[in-house]
């Protein structure tokens, strides 16, 4: 964004990256231990793994593309 050193997209990237890594990490743990939450449906799809991965990749893309050193004035 004009006039600021850090664009909003960078903040979004950081948040998505952190969330993605947390959820992906938990998903891997859940898959490895087969310790699934009892009332949650479709655990066989391992949603935290792929959704966490998608969030992390998207976040990484935004962090790199909009990192402060490259941000426009």
């Amino acid at each position: 964004m004009h006039g600021s050193r850090i664009p909003i997209w960078f903040f979004i990237g950081v948040l998505l990256l952190v969330y993605g890594l947390m959820i992906f990490g938990y998903g891997v743990y859940e898959w490895q231990t087969a310790n699934y939450p009892p009332l949650v449906q479709l655990t066989n799809l391992h949603t935290p793994v792929w959704w966490g991965g998608v969030l992390a990749l998207l976040g990484l893309l935004y962090v790199v593309k909009f990192r402060p050193t490259r941000a426009h004035k």
Binding site: I6, L15, Y19, Q41
Partner: protein, 627 residues
């Protein structure tokens, strides 16, 4: 705000205060990972507030975000300010009740108005360099019209903020078991901090962040729901099998008569009341959303922002309406039977259990359940307090679907999406309140000669005061249940006369200052009178909506329509009887008297008209596909 609090079929929040004393188990239990996800969100929004504080020193920076926003940021913020969690949950509940008829509030109830704002109205707002919608009225009609609009806006925004805050706290109690005061305190302190520090820029930054979070947290529900339902075909088959009707999949087919569709609306009300008066009133004159676009860095960005927003608005039913429809066939009771949701009033009537587990007020509960489609056997289970026989309201359709599919971490993200939506709406209200208070009330009526830094200080203080008054309003609603309906009605009472006054002011050179003032005043009084008439004499609904079959849903749209027509008549008649302003004074304010700045030619893919055509084609196709 627009949907749930003004014209939504799920607008029956009046029973919400009764849920404060709810004693049943919360829907979800958060784990440490979920708490961490929520906590990180709060840290992030406050960090943004502190970071932007240094860039919000002048009034232009604090109130208008320096007018530096790109079209994308202004467009996403424009949509996000309207995408509160009450909106998400309310419309998911409406879809559960009425099927895709609820989608009208996202498509015909938004898209034409957003395009009109971008292509036709934005140049006048932008070229006049006004800071607010009341500010435009001041330039066009003079001080009296501005003052009526400013006070109406300020009162409406601050009370709405309080209602939103309270409703959020109730939802957090029902879904998570959180204490009401804790939710109110945490959310209001966070909003006061980040908006008070960074002004509109901070509110807009966070709205864009919240928009991404809402999609990231809510998108999984329809994806996983569709997988489990067997795709769209499977969903259709199951709904027809369960509900014995295919009306749930038609937007227009069954709107030829009030009694032919579950919502009790007629297509004329949808097209003229919702599609024109309410929708245009909200999307083109409500300062809460217009302020976001005014912050754009040039006229082309200001025109493009609502068009970008309209693409996302058309997509929102995927994360709101679809989960409601999926809830119809996928939600289950613990015994495996289909879970049927009910109104907030039924849940409230059956709340509380005696020592033996049965419902305390069984006669009230029984009477309330008699008006539902709950099976008799299940009603008996509820009355006797049988294990697992719980009642959940329509508004809980989305949280119930989240709990069904989202495990640790993902559930935290979903809850964060709801909290983000609440805070986005609240921040929108207080930032708009701050601008209207400072520019349209304090500056012209209290202190005309303050310095720029003085007005910034007033703006920051008004945010703190606005949040404090909102908290007071939240507790007022909690203790005086009936007030909620009146506060919700404020928006729909005010917006129709305002639309008439602005449209005539912008497109008719002959409209005069006295006409604008009287039209606004008479329109508001008339609209409020209609509301009170139906409130005191419920049978009057048949007169307002022109049909004995009309349901409360129809009242909002027809009341708005009549108020608009009366205001339009007043503005025309009074204008013709009074002396108009010289045309030379209307430059930058009125169509035909304004020389708009020439925009540099751009390739078609950067041209707002080209993208508006794409929106129109998609909009038409969607309406035909779901006819």
């Amino acid at each position: 705000m627009f949907g749930l609090l003004s014209a939504s079929p799920a607008a029956s929040l009046g029973a919400l205060p009764a849920l404060v004393a709810l004693s049943t188990q919360p829907l979800a239990h958060l784990r440490l990972l979920d708490i961490a996800v929520i906590a990180i969100y709060f840290v992030m929004v406050i960090w943004i507030g502190f970071y932007l504080k240094g860039m919000s020193n002048t009034s232009e920076e604090f109130f208008m975000a320096g007018r530096e926003m790109t079209a994308w940021i202004a467009g996403l913020s424009f949509v996000s300010a309207n995408l509160g969690s009450l909106e998400l949950m309310g419309w998911a509940g409406s879809a559960y009740q009425y099927g895709i008829l609820a989608t009208h509030w996202y498509w015909i109830g938004a898209i034409p108005a957003m395009l009109f704002l971008g292509l036709v109205m934005m140049p006048f707002y932008y070229v006049s360099k006004t800071h607010s919608v009341p500010g435009y009225l001041d330039l066009r009609y003079g001080g009296p019209a501005r003052t009526v609009a400013a006070f109406s806006f300020a009162i409406e925004m601050i009370l709405m903020s309080g209602v939103n805050m309270f409703a959020m706290a109730v939802v957090m109690k029902v879904v998570l078991g959180w204490d009401i005061s804790f939710s109110i305190l945490v959310s209001s302190v966070a909003v006061a901090l980040y908006v008070g520090l960074g002004g509109l820029r901070s509110a807009i930054f966070n709205e864009v962040l919240q928009f991404v979070l809402i999609w990231g947290g809510a998108l999984l529900v329809p994806i996983l729901g569709l997988i489990q339902a067997g795709g769209v075909a499977g969903l259709k088959t199951k709904i027809i099998s369960n509900m014995h009707s295919d009306s749930y999949f038609h937007l227009w087919r069954d709107t030829g008569h009030f009694s032919a569709n579950p919502m009790g609306v007629h297509w004329t009300g949808i097209v003229f009341g919702l599609g024109f008066v309410i929708s245009f009133g909200y999307w083109t004159t409500d300062f809460l959303v217009v302020q976001r676009v005014l912050a754009a860095h040039n006229l082309r960005a200001a025109r493009m922002a609502p068009i970008i927003g309209s693409f996302f608005k058309m997509a929102v039913p995927f994360i709101v309406i679809l989960p409601g429809l999926l809830g119809l066939v996928l939600l289950q009771n613990p015994d495996g039977s289909r879970r049927q949701l009910v109104g907030e009033d039924v849940v409230a009537a059956c709340n509380g259990s005696s020592e033996n587990g049965s419902v305390v007020n069984s006669s009230a509960c029984s009477a309330a359940m008699a008006n539902t489609t709950l099976p008799a056997a299940y009603q008996q289970k509820v009355l006797s307090g049988a294990s697992g026989a719980e009642l959940h309201s329509y508004n809980q359709a989305l949280p119930l679907m989240m709990v069904r599919y989202l495990g640790p971490g993902l559930l935290g993200l979903g809850i964060t999406a709801l909290i983000a939506g609440f805070m986005s709406g609240m921040a929108g209200n207080v930032s708009a309140f701050s601008t209207v208070w400072t520019y349209d009330i304090y500056k012209p009526l209290i202190n005309k000669k303050g310095t720029d830094s003085h007005y910034v200080l007033v703006g920051r203080l008004s945010i703190l005061i606005g949040v404090a008054v909102s908290i007071g309003a939240a507790y007022l609603v909690m203790h005086a249940h009936g007030i909620m309906d009146y506060v919700q009605a404020l928006f729909s009472i005010f917006i129709a006369p305002l639309l008439a006054v602005i449209l005539f002011g912008m497109f008719w050179k002959r409209a005069t200052g006295l006409a604008g003032f009287l039209s606004l005043l008479i329109g508001i009084v008339f609209s409020a009178s209609l509301f009170m008439w139906v409130k005191l004499v419920p049978s009057a609904l048949a007169n307002v909506a022109l049909s004995p079959d009309a349901k409360p849903m129809a009242e909002n749209v027809f009341r708005a329509l009549w108020a608009f027509i009366l205001s339009a008549i007043v503005v025309v008649v009074v204008s013709l009887l009074t002396k108009p302003r010289p045309v030379a004074e209307l430059d930058g304010l009125v169509y035909g008297a304004t020389k708009l700045p020439r925009e540099e030619p751009v390739p078609f893919y950067k041209n707002e008209v080209a993208w508006a055509v794409v929106v129109v084609v998609i909009f038409a196709a969607l309406n035909i596909i779901f006819w």
